[in-house]
């Protein structure tokens, strides 16, 4: 393998790793607030990308993306209010099946609105063939956009959770819901907010990577399972570790093309998921002791 090819694989790994990390962070936000794994997380990414492509016909690119993120955010909130908010202490099995149902409905709605076609936003700067040289390695500017925007989004999210009143209220709810309620925090609204935030970051991720990876009505499920792999790899609920884990999975997948046909790319990442679940469900960065206390 030439050194050029080696770096190309790394760049591809980073690109895919970014989107996996974004999905994983979406999982974490909802998991932290509710203890639920939202199986429809991948659909938020798909919806964001699809909506942005449609809106781009009428709006300039930044406005289309912003609107797509807001719309997906509203859908995320609506889903929580309609399907989850009023349930009284639902069992884990029940929540799994409900979120799976939601993911199917979103996918089918997308199929009826957009059809089976593959869509993509245009490259934010330049074209598909433009390349920026980074110390001798040629990188598509869109990769820089995707990584940059995701990094900024994660940073903002961290600032939000650490320094704003609302973010701290959400954290209080995830730490101890009853205590938070005694302090006058409206726990249910925090859950709705977590769905909205999670949908928003998913949609943003969907927009920035869509020029490279394309979106289709059914691109949600593979993303969800890989995002989940990353979330587990990093330790469920730990968003910073999710970024590192995302990069690891992206790289592994990208380099797997070296040994196996590209058609089996998904097999690699899911096999990794199963392997982690079997040997270390607390993740490589998580602590085994705390995970034992959680209800998986």
């Amino acid at each position: 393998m030439s050194i050029d090819l080696f770096f190309q694989y790394i760049v591809a790994g980073i690109t895919y790793g970014t989107i996996y990390a974004v999905v994983a962070i979406g999982f974490n936000i909802i998991y932290n607030a509710t203890g639920i794994i939202n199986f429809a997380q991948g659909e938020f990414v798909m919806l964001g990308g699809m909506t942005a492509v449609t809106l781009y016909q009428f709006l300039p690119l930044p406005a289309a993306i912003l609107a797509a993120v807001l719309i997906t955010m509203a859908i995320g909130g609506l889903i929580e209010v309609l399907f989850i908010r009023w349930l009284h202490r639902p069992s884990v099995l029940r929540m799994i099946i409900i979120t799976i149902g939601i993911s199917i409905l979103l996918r089918e709605v997308a199929l009826h609105i957009w059809g089976e076609g593959v869509r993509a936003l245009p490259y934010f700067t330049g074209t598909a063939t433009t390349a920026v040289s980074l110390g001798g390695v040629f990188v598509s500017p869109q990769v820089i956009w995707a990584v940059g925007v995701s990094a900024v989004a994660v940073l903002l999210l961290n600032v939000f959770f650490s320094y704003t009143l609302l973010g701290r209220q959400m954290r209080a709810c995830s730490a101890n819901r009853d205590a938070a309620r005694l302090c006058g925090i409206h726990a249910r609204n925090m859950v709705t907010l977590s769905f909205m935030l999670s949908a928003a970051i998913g949609a943003l991720g969907g927009c920035v990577v869509s020029p490279i990876t394309y979106v289709q009505y059914d691109s949600g499920t593979p993303l969800a399972i890989k995002g989940f792999t990353v979330a587990i790899l990093g330790g469920l609920g730990n968003s910073l570790a999710a970024i590192a884990a995302g990069m690891i999975l992206g790289m592994l997948e990208s380099f797997s093309i070296w040994v196996l046909p590209a058609a089996y790319k998904d097999v690699i990442s899911i096999a990794i998921l199963l392997f982690i679940l079997f040997v270390r469900p607390s993740g490589i960065f998580g602590s085994a002791e705390t995970s034992r206390l959680k209800e998986f």
Partner: protein, 358 residues
Amino acid sequence: MTSRSLSVLAFAGVIVTIQLVTKATGSEYHLTQLTMTAYYSLLTIGLCMLVGYAGQISIGHAGFFAIGGYVAAYLTTHDFSAQSGSVPLSLLSALGVLVKRPDLYGGDLLTFHPWAAFVTALALTIIVAYLVGGPVLKLKGHYLAMATLGFGIIVYRIVLGTTALGAADGITNVPGFAVVPGIEVSGKTSLRVVNYYTAWGIVAVSMVLLMNLQHSRVGRALASIHGAEDAADAMGIPTASYKLKIFVLSAVFASVAGILLTHYNAGIGPSEASVMKSVRYVAIVAIGGMANLWGVLCMSLLLNYLSLRGYLGSFDDAVFGAILILIMLFAPEGFLRRQIIGDIKGFLSRRSGEREAS
């Protein structure tokens, strides 16, 4: 006469009535979809034991269906004559595993006998189910769901990406399966009625087996695992081994369904392994009442038939998604339950109780 044999008799009555009605009205073409429905039902009643009775979710059972179907299809269509001189091949011929049959173009194909393919496919399914089930069933809740989903996607990706298995086209021209002389599982129009009764006969026998299992020591153990696994463990029930056994059993049901349906349809495609199929089976178990074999069978008959006849149109998958959500929102214990009236009463009284409390 016990209520169990009564219900089987009633079921047989329904099956016969349906056939007589289609004969009387000259609409026997319905039997084709009804036969396919029977095989899908075989899978769902097996899954019902796992999800409903033992409380272990699996979103990957289409994977076992596909393993059965694909192995049977491959072994009965792949021409082994190129390797016919080799030692393992001559050994297999000597055992009568390989048979010659004419292909479409007048040449000879050297393939596995359907029975040999059946046994191989089943054996492979059992091995895979043990290997996957062992570690997977240690997981609970979200992790179990994701792991089984992952297993399903792996099978789907493998059959979709492997050219020997026909990639996106799947395997076609699978021969019929003469189970015993006179009964052949195949899509021939002349054999439509025979196939209809064969398929539903297999379902009926399976129902009897599963009902007996459910009312046995094993069945009660499974129910206790569903109720409280730790408590069951403390009572001395080997929970891990029971969970694994019922997982393998449900995989066998799925595999048999896959094998027979592949012979019946004369082919199998990658869509049979898709996630949506697995979700669909869980949806049927959920709407059938989770731990209610007859409810699951009824719903499977109804929904698969509607879906296969195309009555659900392009909303096919959406209908199953909506069913899942509605059932889990409003009747998480399942829809078809004997004590449904008691539930409504309980629901109303709980509501008024809550109002008084608040």
